[in-house]
């Protein structure tokens, strides 16, 4: 198996981008990544696109070929593959592209992730997001996406004494980080009081516990490691990946307060990379809700089970603390264009490892992690990246 490196990254602004179409976003991110990698179109062997639901958000399927077309690559007749796995589609696309390179089939692959969510109204967007839950045995009974995570939060508070203020601390931290990221949807700090006083969505979660609806795209150029040095002096190596699935419905899982998919995906990635959670300096984890980040940092073994809220409140996961979590602002502040998520997380980690993260740079960032969820935890993907030097 050949090793895989990242030689280029690109992303768009995240937010309510009414003047940009789905294809424009995808192309913008992709072309920036190609430019960053200093490769030409002829160098690209294939395109993988992570996208959750263009069919529902913009009535457009067949989006991988579409993006390749409008990127000016129609004449190259490249193989294009669209990947779906709820919120994890971008992260799965990275893994699939890496496997294509590792197998020797391709040398250079562009991985994109994109979602255009604001062409539909809020209620419709929430319904589309809920389609990753079990429609027959959760949604039909009135379960919402936020409601299912709210029940995890309530149980976490019951079992471990996690407080409402600790949940809020996640949003406060990620907005603080987002304020340092020029592409973030929200570049404004918030307070615990603002989080606690926000309108309720599904108790105990309020508006500020939820990631926003966003438009945006991100892209990576992956290359076989033996050829990466031809294109860049600072290749970032993908040293381990893990993907895992679980029962789709929350009520069928072993526990409400642990995501086994995250635990297993993490173990697989760390095993492949021969690293431990203690080695990780910077991580982008899936904070679609505040409780999700608390469970993620526990399930990835950054902190003991039940201590996620306490660790966040104590600042252990802030910028340049023990482990810097969601330096981009996370899904909460950078934005949550679903299909782009896994790729956008990887872009942030690559920037951190290259030392190009500006005001939010983590000092001595040598090993970085991304963690992405599909649905309410029916899928989880973990990637580990390291400096190539």
């Amino acid at each position: 198996m050949r090793e895989v490196s990242v030689i280029g990254v690109g992303e768009t602004q995240f937010g309510e981008l009414w003047d940009k179409s789905f294809r424009e976003l995808g192309i913008e991110a992709g072309l920036r990544a190609i430019q960053d990698a200093e490769i030409a179109a002829e160098n690209v062997d294939a395109i993988y696109v992570g996208n959750m639901s263009a069919g529902k958000f913009i009535d457009q399927e067949h989006v991988a070929a579409l993006v390749a077309d409008y990127a000016g690559l129609a004449d190259q007749h490249l193989p294009t593959i669209r990947v779906e796995g709820g919120g994890a589609c971008g992260a799965i696309a990275i893994q699939q592209a890496a496997m294509a390179i590792a197998s020797g089939v391709h040398d250079i692959v562009v991985v994109g992730g994109a979602e255009k969510m604001t062409d539909v109204g809020d209620v419709e967007a929430a319904r589309i997001l809920s389609s990753t839950t079990d429609q027959e045995w959760e949604s039909v009974f009135g379960a919402t996406f936020a409601g299912l995570f709210a029940m995890m939060a309530r149980r976490h508070m019951f079992e471990y004494g996690t407080t409402r203020e600790q949940l809020a601390a996640v949003a406060v931290k990620n907005h603080k980080h987002g304020a340092l990221n020029p592409v973030a949807q929200f570049q404004k700090e918030i307070t615990v009081e603002m989080v606690l006083g926000a309108p309720r969505v599904a108790e105990p979660l309020g508006v500020f516990d939820c990631a926003p609806l966003s438009d945006g795209a991100a892209a990576l150029v992956l290359c076989s490691r033996d050829k990466a040095r031809k294109f860049t002096d600072t290749p970032i190596d993908l040293i381990g990946t893990g993907q895992a699935s679980d029962f789709l419905a929350v009520h069928d899982r072993r526990e409400l307060t642990t995501m086994d998919a995250t635990v297993i995906a993490g173990k697989r990635a760390f095993h492949a990379a021969r690293k431990t959670p203690n080695d990780v300096k910077v991580a982008e984890v899936h904070d679609n809700f505040t409780i999700s980040e608390i469970m993620a940092i526990e399930d990835l073994r950054f902190v003991p089970k039940g201590k996620g809220g306490f660790a966040t409140e104590d600042g252990e996961t802030a910028l340049n603390a023990r482990v810097s979590v969601n330096t981009s602002g996370g899904l909460k502040a950078r934005g949550y264009p679903v299909g782009a998520t896994g790729v956008a997380q990887a872009v942030e980690i690559v920037r951190q490892l290259r030392g190009e993260a500006g005001k939010r740079q983590v000092t001595d960032a040598g090993l970085g992690l991304t963690h992405t969820l599909g649905g309410t935890g029916g899928t989880a993907v973990v990637h580990l990246f390291a400096r190539g030097d």
Binding site: V123, R127, F141, T144, R154, A202
Partner: protein, 133 residues
């Protein structure tokens, strides 16, 4: 959504029909064709079994931001309930004051309208929970 989508789930949604694994004896709801614990050893041994309809609240939320079809009900209580048979289910808890819902509360199944297909569409029914009597 097409009517058969609701019609084919009637046995489980009206009568709480789940499945019992003939290999390990564990119950699942809705019925499964393969036992998640026994895999191949359970094939051909999955029997239909009706649940008693009693359980306790494992976790709950009060939904304020509701889907269009549930807008008239909000705020409403949604819970994950562990049934006497050991499996868990998700539905609304009715006939309870919002402030009274608690983890550990004993509940029982009640037959209720779940929703309807558009304004003149078919009404579909199923289970909700209420405090045990």
């Amino acid at each position: 959504m097409a009517i058969p989508r609701f019609w084919r789930e009637i046995p489980s949604r009206y009568n709480l029909v789940g499945s019992k694994c003939g290999n390990c004896g564990t119950l699942d709801f809705p019925p499964r064709l393969v036992c998640p614990r026994c895999g191949r050893r359970s094939m051909g041994k999955m029997e239909r079994r009706k649940l008693a309809g009693r359980g306790t609240v494992v976790s709950y939320t009060i939904i304020h931001d509701a889907p269009k079809d549930f807008d008239m009900m909000k705020p409403y209580v949604l819970a994950i309930v562990e049934m006497e048979e050991g499996l868990r289910m998700t539905s609304q808890v009715i006939d309870v004051e919002l402030g009274d819902i608690k983890i550990g509360m004993p509940v029982e199944v009640a037959f209720r309208k779940l929703g309807e297909e558009g304004e003149a569409g078919v009404i579909h029914y199923g289970y909700k929970f209420r405090p045990a009597r």
